[in-house]
Amino acid sequence: MFFELSQIHAVSEAMIFLSVILMLLSKRNVSILILYIIQSSGVIILMLSQTQHEMSLLSLLAVAVVFFVKIIVAPRFLYKLIQQHYLKFAVNTYLGTTLTLIVMAVLTAFAYSSIFKPLTLLAPKNETALIQALAAIFISLFLIINRKGALSQIIGVLSLENAIISFALIAGLKQTAGLEIGIMFDIFIWIIIATVFVSKIYKQFGTLDITTMRHLKEE
């Protein structure tokens, strides 16, 4: 074997962590989508690195399903939306770049704080990768809150899911292949429904900027 498992974990998690940071800073929807593909690739590398110990057909099938949903279906659906509604640029954020960077730094520091130290005991060898996964979870949450665009919110939710899955894989909380397929099926349906709703929003409001959705406030 060319690489240690912990090295693969570190590299994959770094991919996931960096991609969510860049998602927050990126202004173009296509760039965010590419970053999501990179992030999902990190998850797939993590899954593959663990599958090689088992080498069961079902485990490989689970990886294939994840690949299909995260690398093919989700980006395709979202790219179609971008093209359909001419969404070249991501809708604005609530906070400016400087404040966004500060919040990201605070969230990363929070993940490194002693509060979450017990979680690193789940896989002491991969302490840094686990903390990065936690930071990616918090930053993904911030991405969902900070973006005003429905499309960015979808990618934020998917990024949150990637971060959680990567934490679970690094911490050794891998589920049975059957369950992984079940979870992916759920995510797959979620993506379809979310994209249907994005189209509905565009049809009703003529934009994907969620700040224009004020009908509930007016009632």
Partner: protein, 481 residues
Amino acid sequence: MVVSFIITLPMIAAIISILKKKDVQVLNIVSVVSVFLELVASLILLFSVAANGDYVFTRYFAVDSFGSILLVIVALIGFTASWYSTSYLQVEVSKKIIGFENIWSYFVFLHLFLLAMFFAIITTSPIFMWISIEATTLSTAFLISFYNKPSAVEAAWKYLIINSVGLLLGFFGTLLFISSITKTGGHTLVYWQSLLTNAPNFDPMVAKIAFIFVLVGYGTKIGLAPMHTWLPDAHSKAPVPVSSLLSGVLLNIAFYAVLRFKSVTDASIGPSFSQQLLIFFGILSIVIAALIMYVQKNYKRLLAYSSIEHMGVIALGFGFGGAGALAAILHIIYHSLAKSILFLSAGNIFLKYSTTKINKIRGVLSVLPISGTFFLIGFLAITGVPPFGIFLTEFIILSSGIQNHLGVTIVALMALALVFVGFLRHVSSMFFGKADENIIHGEMGNRIIAPIVLLVILLTVASVYIPTAIQLLVQSASQLY
């Protein structure tokens, strides 16, 4: 056998609804008959659990005492909602609120919604439970946006995003709970029972973090403050039969998930940690809901905030523990019945007045004497007026908190009084006075009232008499959680 029946029926009903999408008569019959059979099967299961203990179908499916009560609640409220829907949708079609072609999709998603809830209760795996609860979000998102208006789409989007984020946090918490097994076991499917067995090996700090994530995650679905922001919008925008299911049933299912994790946490680190958190979120929910209910302008939102308040009361009951937990389980039953009565009666009010704004409605009692009376009964029951069961359960919950949590109990008592005053204020302005002259007096037929009659009878009887089987199950469930 009964379990497979409960799971298969909604699936078959959904498939028939897809195939027979142009035949409204078939859609109606399939809907009512299938959910009625689900109710019968759930009752059989309930009596079986009461007589013989937990019903274990396979390693993957089992029903405990609390689960059997919840199954009956899902099936019962599902049955009245389906029955009511058949007439309600017909009136909406005749008033051109919805198109004829929308009905089949409504029933398909309704059956899938029921299926997901049944599955969440019956499964023995926490991950499958998470998948099922996530599936309830996906099936109901379409039901919330059923009217396809901007406000309905907005409410559905808010619901989808907030609940998905909440449930992902719940998923993270679930995975952390599973770490207690993977440390000692392997990559096999994790069951609730194995989590409980391994609870003593669970790292106490990880258990605390995991429970916080689970409570915040599933708490979002329950509608506990401050994660409740989606609930008033979603519950007020959905068609009323769906609102009755969302408020009266779905919130309980999410609560069931929290309680199952609570029992694991308690077995690991003792009950005080989870109880304190439940008390905190419970009292916060009651106070926030009470304040907003007082100034509410929309009666459907009023009912939605009332659900937040009652989830707070239930959280308080489990937080106080002992007799409080027992009362909380009974409270779940009474709340489901009373809230369904309120939502379905509110549906009749909406069909008559074509508005949900409180200040535009006058003289309901003279315009809709039967539906109006049922709404009043629901109001008295939900605000805890004797002799209705909620009076007793709230009394027990608050009594059990007096000794150790006096401050919280006093605040809860004041908030509940405010809820009553606020609700009474709105009800008296809507129900009395003179109605607009262009409003035609009279009910819209017996079929639309019959399901509410059934609920009113059940609520009244259950308030004064609880069958021995259910008493046993409630006692057994309160010891588990």
